[in-house]
């Protein structure tokens, strides 16, 4: 049953996967097992996206399905859900920029690849990045931006982290819209990633998992 379940979610069969979720809950199955299967299903979605079979519509819709599954399962859970993560990444769209489509894809892909992601959202002031780096003790920071003002905002964010003495043990990647390697040099970041798969590859490399 759990193999079917994973496939139904990965193939985005909304009615079927929700019906099976209810059926499994009615049969008093361990809700943690259902969540584990849905995590596996999302992993398949992630690898299909990385492989060019799935695109944004599939990612968005799979997220929509997962949300519904979680809502069904939640009342049956006892205690908190903890999952083993392979590393931490803090991400956010820099100050003055409110775009988040790319940011959320990076969040999704890092998450299904086992990272604990702290997503600070959009228009993130420098101080908030600094606080999050301190609080999470992350070694990886992802700066997202879409428009040209992000060039300077990224540069200023990196400089501020340097000033705080946080830069040394931190790898910084940038991406989004008009970002490229020229901007990476300008902002003094460590890497530019052209898509969410690059963010995963860089993060894995930096934690020594790739």
């Amino acid at each position: 049953m759990s193999g079917d379940y994973v496939n139904l979610l990965a193939d985005l069969k909304e009615d079927e996967v929700l019906a099976l979720t209810k059926k499994r809950l009615d049969a008093k199955e361990d809700p943690m097992k259902i969540l584990e299967d849905s995590r596996k299903g999302m992993e398949v979605v992630g690898s299909r996206f990385a492989g060019g079979e799935y695109f944004l519509p599939e990612l968005v819709f799979s997220g929509e399905l997962l949300k519904q599954i979680n809502e069904l399962v939640k009342p049956h859970l006892k205690g908190a859900v903890t999952q083993k993560k392979i590393g931490k990444v803090v991400i956010g769209t820099v100050a003055g920029d409110i775009h988040d489509i790319g940011l959320n894809i990076v969040d999704f892909m890092l998450d299904v690849n086992g990272f604990e992601v702290t997503n600070l959202g959009v228009d993130v002031p420098i101080e908030k990045f600094i606080k999050a780096v301190k609080d999470t003790k992350t070694t990886i920071l992802g700066l997202s931006g879409f428009l040209t003002p992000a060039f300077d905002a990224m540069k200023e964010t990196v400089e501020a982290l340097e000033k705080e003495g946080l830069r040394k043990n931190l790898k910084i990647m940038i991406g989004g819209g008009q970002m490229d390697d020229d901007v990476r040099k300008y902002a003094k970041a460590d890497a530019y990633g052209k898509d969410a798969m690059a963010a995963v590859a860089l993060s894995k490399k930096w934690i020594g998992a790739a």
Binding site: P57, E64, G96, I98, I101, L147, T148, P149, Q178
Partner: protein
Amino acid sequence: MFKRTDNWSELTWQQKRDLRFNKWISGEGIKFVDKEAEKNYQARATRLAQAAKMEIPDRVPCAVPTGWFPAMNAGITLKEAMYNPEKMKWAWLKFVDEYDSDTFDGTILFQAPVSDIMIDKTMKWPGHGLPDNSHSAYQYIEGEYMKADEYDIFMKDPFDFQLRYLLPRTTGIFEPFKDIPSFSSYQGLPQRLMAMSLDPKFQKFLKAIQDAGKQIPALRKADSETTQAAAAKGFPMFRGGLAIAPFDVFADNLRGTQGIFTDMFRQPDKIHEAMEFVLPKLLSGAISMADATDCPVVMMPLHKGDDAFMSDKQFETFYWPTFKRLLLEMIEEGLVPFPVAEGAYNRRLEYISDMPKSGVIWMFDQTDMANAKKTVGRVSCIAGNVPVSLAYTGSVEEMEAYCKKLIETCAPGGGYILSGGTTFDMAKPENLRIMMESAKKYGYYK
């Protein structure tokens, strides 16, 4: 205002386009500052029109995409440019005097004082959600401004949908309209309006509309005086109208990314039906704008159909069919669609090559230009690709090398305009200048 000839319906699309282009090139009605300016205007417009038609002009035209750069150049904040029309006009004309280009990129399209009064909830701009000294002009807040189950309401009565569903969500002063019955009846309107005029909620609305309306003349005056003055100095505006792809009407504006991508699985037929519904409206809008401005070029910023957003199959199913028909129908009217493919269109090149030769100009952002030249470049004029990152962070030498390579790759045989991949809201002044100089240095056809 463009007037059709008596035999308009018997003309080929190329003849219609030439009539429109000729009117634009003539500069009829422009009060040129001198003979030289008139000559320059016509030479620039001719160069652009020839490139668009895939003929060989004297040299590669260069359209420096200046966006909000004139504000930066004049040392005023974007907020000042938005709220002070006279200052905007001064800054934009200062730019025209200081920089060479084959085009004038136009003034700002955003009316901040109006948006303030109307309580625009779909935008952030300096002083309104963004800091006063922000380097970013205005940014769109995506949302599901039309709900998943409202496609039919939208198609049944777009006026009612706009008034009672869309505007109360997007524009604060319209909020009271969400609670009232429809106006779409054949009688009773005067009574309804009189009753509303006594209701404090609607009195507030009417006052706001009036206050916003009072802002318009000064904004419009500065805008048209700037465009006219740029033309009078010899710089044509290469944009007579704006349109968008039918899919983006929903993906950008009404349903948002999240909404439309969910609809693609749950109710694909509704998307198709709704795209069919908006297609003729987009067409007639484009025609009337081009008629009014006397310029046949219709700029079309494209968003949700790029390589990263959807698969080939999804592009072929959802994005391309109605967009293609819109392009063809625009061409048939003698218009020149000018799609701006933001992001990358590397996997779309084959689809978009299926167009009548010289009917469309394609502006590319991060698309591989050598491939573009080999594919869509055989049937359409191509433009763009100079990165804004280079314009802002690169050296003059790097900028020149990039432009030179682009010209060598794309110019042979005609059908190429040197331009940016996106607007250069921020750039080094010397990098804008070297762009134009590169067109002159490397772009002459022998």
